[in-house]
């Protein structure tokens, strides 16, 4: 009985020309988004890889320089596009692509795509994730809004029920039928995405990437399932197809257009972001209280010198076996980095608090849950961006301290002229960035994961109870 209802839904949907046209359109957009996404993320990745290789080459073959000059010459970190980010650009277009890494100074990540675009980019980007998150729910609504109301309007519901089927059984049967239909639309695109990913990476596709892809697909399937059940439940609660449709479209608008924007804006209003200028000034102020790397007249630098003289039992700094300039510089770098990191953590803490509002809103809105999880799997979310920034800062610190160490050990006190050959710079490994593993990403989205699972349970239990109470006459 139940199977035959599911089969009936499946077949009659496929015979509905309007639905077939709409799903072909969605599928077409999905395929286009896959290809376009892959193309643009490939272009960006190429651009950044070339730039990274160029700066690495420049660093290793740099002219003979004093180590502190080299510390200011510095290096760049270009954020590589992760292999999966072509599915979901996420924040990638709004985050900077390059960080200049030099001594004493933590620079911002500059040149985001958004800064190079007119306000057109604010209308959204054509990605696979966009089609899956926004358009497929609409297709599902269109597919399911009449699930019960149509049977009520034609009077077939009474006949079905008189055959001894419960409303709950009818609902599950219809859900099964609709799920099959949705799978038919989504599968080709997901297969293509998977295929392209394999084609791009060849056989050395890391298991981590595969896990991310599988989870990415799994989250979306759960999301679609939630929407299917939700639509069927709403249909059961209505007497007329048109009101059921309008209610569902209203839910869609609220979930996919209004709540995401409102929650992000609310977070921004609730937690004030300090300006970069203010933050830099605060860092400067706090560092000035400590040791200033550039100012050897500073009293604390004098104290450090005295300590060293006492320790090595000599009378003047020039007799020291180490170069005090390098040591002062290293201590200064350590100090300023510590202060900067404290402030940066406070800043990112503020951002996370702002984002928390959206994450909590996922309990009201499955769209937000899947959006965060999707970005997480595509490594284009905030935690991944932060991870990159932290890695770049870590590299910057080690680069600066490595050069300070060279100055302290290989150069004499007050030697500002000696230049070391480029062989010295080859001792430094170039900046490389590895995307963190999938479990790291999942750990950062536990809240969204919980919300998605909760939604799944909610529609299956409470939703079905509502279906059971559907008004038949």
């Amino acid at each position: 009985m139940v199977k035959s209802i599911a089969q009936k839904e499946f077949i009659s949907t496929l015979r509905d020309r309007r639905f077939v046209v709409l799903s072909m359109l969605v599928l077409l957009l999905l395929l286009a988004a896959t290809v376009v996404g892959l193309y643009s993320s490939h272009t960006l990745q190429q651009e950044r890889q070339v730039a990274q290789e160029e700066v690495n080459h420049q660093f290793h073959n740099s002219a003979d320089r004093h180590p502190h000059r080299m510390a200011h010459y510095g290096s760049f970190a270009f954020r590589p596009k992760s292999s999966l980010s072509f599915l979901d650009f996420g924040l990638d277009s709004f985050t900077g692509a390059s960080v200049f890494m030099e001594a004493h100074k933590q620079n911002s990540a500059n040149f985001s795509q958004a800064q190079q675009s007119s306000s057109l980019i604010r209308f959204g980007e054509m990605t696979v994730a966009f089609v899956l998150q926004m358009l497929l729910p609409l297709l599902i609504i269109f597919l399911c809004f009449g699930a019960f109301t149509q049977e009520k309007e034609t009077g077939t519901l009474k006949i079905l029920l008189s055959q001894g089927v419960s409303p709950r059984q009818i609902a599950w049967a219809k859900i099964a039928g609709y799920s099959k239909t949705v799978a038919l639309v989504v599968t080709p695109a997901l297969l293509l995405a998977g295929g392209l990913l394999f084609g791009q990476n060849g056989l050395d596709l890391q298991p981590d990437m595969l896990w991310r892809l599988l989870l990415f697909m799994a989250f979306y399937l759960v999301y679609f399932f939630i929407f299917i059940v939700l639509s069927v439940v709403v249909s059961a609660l209505h007497q007329r197809s048109s009101t059921s449709l309008v209610t569902l479209l209203g839910i869609w608008i609220l979930c996919c257009v209004i709540i995401p924007k409102a929650s992000a804006n609310l977070g921004n209003t609730l937690y004030t972001t300090p300006t970069k200028a203010q933050m830099d000034a605060d860092v400067h102020e706090e560092v000035a209280k400590g040791i200033d790397g550039h100012n050897s007249q500073d009293a604390r630098a004098e104290a450090l010198k005295k300590d060293l003289l006492r320790k090595y039992g000599v009378d003047s700094v020039s007799q020291l076996p180490v170069n005090v300039d390098g040591i002062i510089m290293a201590v200064g770098e350590e100090q300023s980095t510590k202060v900067y990191r404290e402030h940066f953590e406070k800043l990112t803490g503020t951002f996370q608090k702002q984002n928390r509002i959206s994450e909590l809103a996922a309990f009201l809105n499955p769209y937000l849950a899947v959006r965060h999880l999707s970005m997480g799997m595509a490594s284009s979310d905030f935690p991944h961006y932060l991870h990159f920034q932290n890695k770049a800062e870590e590299y910057r610190y080690h680069l600066a301290q490595g050069l300070n160490h060279i100055q302290a050990t290989r150069l004499k006190y007050h030697d500002k002229t000696t230049r070391l050959s480029s062989d010295t710079w080859k001792e430094f490994k170039p900046f490389t960035y590895e995307t963190p593993p999938v479990h790291w990403a999942l750990r950062h989205h536990l809240l969204s994961l919980t919300a998605l699972v909760l939604w799944l349970c909610l529609v299956c239990t409470v939703g079905m109870r509502l279906v059971h109470k559907t008004q038949i006459v």
């Binding site: 985001s112 449709l245 257009v257 300006t275 200028a277 702002q354």
Partner: protein, 460 residues
């Protein structure tokens, strides 16, 4: 005409009794009020932050005055002293924040080479800017069409579906009169709401009351007319309510999301911006290469640009500031072409969007709003140019100290140039967009009229 008003009156009675419609209108009103609140607080916050920058500069000056009470080489000041180039929002920015949250609205500047400072970004939460601004322009561009769709999707079909059309048409009134009255009533509601919110936002945001008031209100009205025309066109197809709702939402989705997203892809492929990364890399090479070049060569190059300082003394020392700043400036000169190209490409992107926006009315209208509020890409590029000129004036202020080796005294700080830039509205492109919008309205409404006449009304 009397019957027209009778119909309007009963539309009002119907509307008043329909909870769904009341909720829809109330929600839009609340969203509009929130949008106004958000826009104004955001602009206020930016203004406060800009005001805060002045304090930071003062603080920095005080610190340097304390450090060098007797004055010092201007090179020290140039290195340790920072000022800000600031981009004040136009008074209209609170209505359409545009790209002001993505693009920095101030740049911290030292006398060092400009290109390594010009593109530094502000602390922005990428997740927030991804979500976009919930300002009045968002409410008008995105949500008002949805309100219009919600009010009009069943404008004719409901009369058939609830079976009132036969009785209605057995009275001496024509179908166009009925549809006209229903549309007029809804227009009164929607335009009333749109104009009320706009005027409220203008008062709340204390905008400069110039010709833009009329332009803004005109655009709001035309944009609403456009969506009414779309609803009318779909109603003229004489399909059922469900079909109309799906079709109208489909059109909305196409115009406000799918076409803009596709345009964005097209624009970024058609007009790539490879200069940015090249610029940063090259600028660093030249500046740092400056340390290793013979001073003579550097200075000759510099004097070619600034012959007025040519007769200053030959540099014999290992390090002097004027040489340092000279090669910093040469770093800027070396990438000048790239920097110009970068700005030109940004503007070319914007121009391309301006050309393509006929394909999507919402993109056009958002463009008009942003142009009026001076919050789009061209304003940012103008700000970059203004900041560049400011950096030039700073250099010219310090060069006499550096090249004539005059001590920079604490009193000299007062004479240092300060920067202020307010984005100017681009009224021309707004008016241009207005004309395009008018064209779109006429085309869609005309198509609706033709279809309405061509399709004979069926009563059931």
């Amino acid at each position: 005409m009397k019957k027209f008003w009778i119909l309007i009156k009963y539309e009002w009675l119907n509307f008043r009794a329909d909870k769904g419609l009341l909720i829809l209108v109330t929600l839009t009103l609340l969203a509009g009020l929130y949008g106004i609140y958000y826009g104004t607080t955001e602009v206020q916050r930016q203004q406060q932050n800009i005001a805060g920058l002045e304090k930071l500069t003062e603080h920095n000056v005080e610190e340097l005055k304390a450090k060098y009470p007797e004055g010092t080489d201007a090179g020290d000041i140039g290195y340790y002293h920072s000022t800000f180039a600031v981009h004040h929002p136009d008074s209209w920015a609170s209505l359409a924040l545009g790209q002001r949250d993505v693009n920095p609205y101030y740049i911290k500047l030292r006398l060092l080479n400009l290109q390594s400072q010009l593109y530094d970004t502000e602390n922005i939460n990428p997740q927030k800017v991804l979500a976009g601004n919930f300002d009045l322009s968002f409410v008008l561009v995105y949500l008002f069409p949805l309100l219009i769709i919600g009010l009009c999707f069943n404008i004719l079909s409901i009369e058939k579906e609830q079976g009132t059309l036969p009785l209605l048409l057995s009275q001496p009134i024509s179908l166009p009169l009925i549809v006209g009255a229903k549309l007029t009533f809804r227009m009164l509601v929607v335009l009333g709401l749109g104009l009320l919110l706009s005027i409220l936002a203008m008062i709340w945001g204390k905008v400069l009351p110039d010709g833009r008031v009329a332009l803004w209100l005109g655009v709001v009205m035309l944009y609403c007319f456009f969506w009414f025309a779309v609803a009318f066109l779909v109603a003229a197809l004489q399909k059922n309510s469900a079909f109309n709702a799906v079709t109208l939402l489909g059109v909305w989705l196409l115009l406000t999301i799918v076409i803009p997203a596709l345009l964005n892809v097209y624009v970024s492929i058609k007009q790539p911006i490879p200069q940015a990364l090249a610029l940063t890399i090259q600028q660093r090479e030249v500046v740092h290469g400056g340390w290793d070049k013979p001073k003579r060569e550097t200075m000759d190059k510099f004097f070619a640009l600034y012959p007025q300082w040519r007769d200053t003394t030959e540099i014999k020392e290992r390090f002097v500031w004027r040489w340092y700043y000279a090669f910093h400036h040469l770093g800027d000169v070396a990438v000048q072409d790239l920097a110009t190209q970068y700005k030109q490409t940004l503007l070319a992107r914007h121009e391309l969007v301006q050309k393509l926006n006929v394909l999507s009315v919402p993109v056009n209208v958002q463009g008009i709003f942003n142009a009026m509020a001076g919050s789009d890409l061209p304003s940012y590029v103008q700000f970059l140019q203004s900041a560049t000129r400011y950096h030039d004036s700073l250099r010219e202020f310090y060069y006499p100290f550096l090249f004539r080796q005059i001590t920079f005294t604490p009193a000299d700080f007062a004479r240092e140039p300060r920067h202020s830039f307010s984005s100017a509205p681009d009224v021309d492109s707004a008016v241009n967009g207005f004309v395009k919008l008018l064209g779109s309205v006429v085309v869609v409404f005309g198509a609706g009229l033709l279809l309405f006449r061509w399709k004979t009304a069926s009563v059931k």
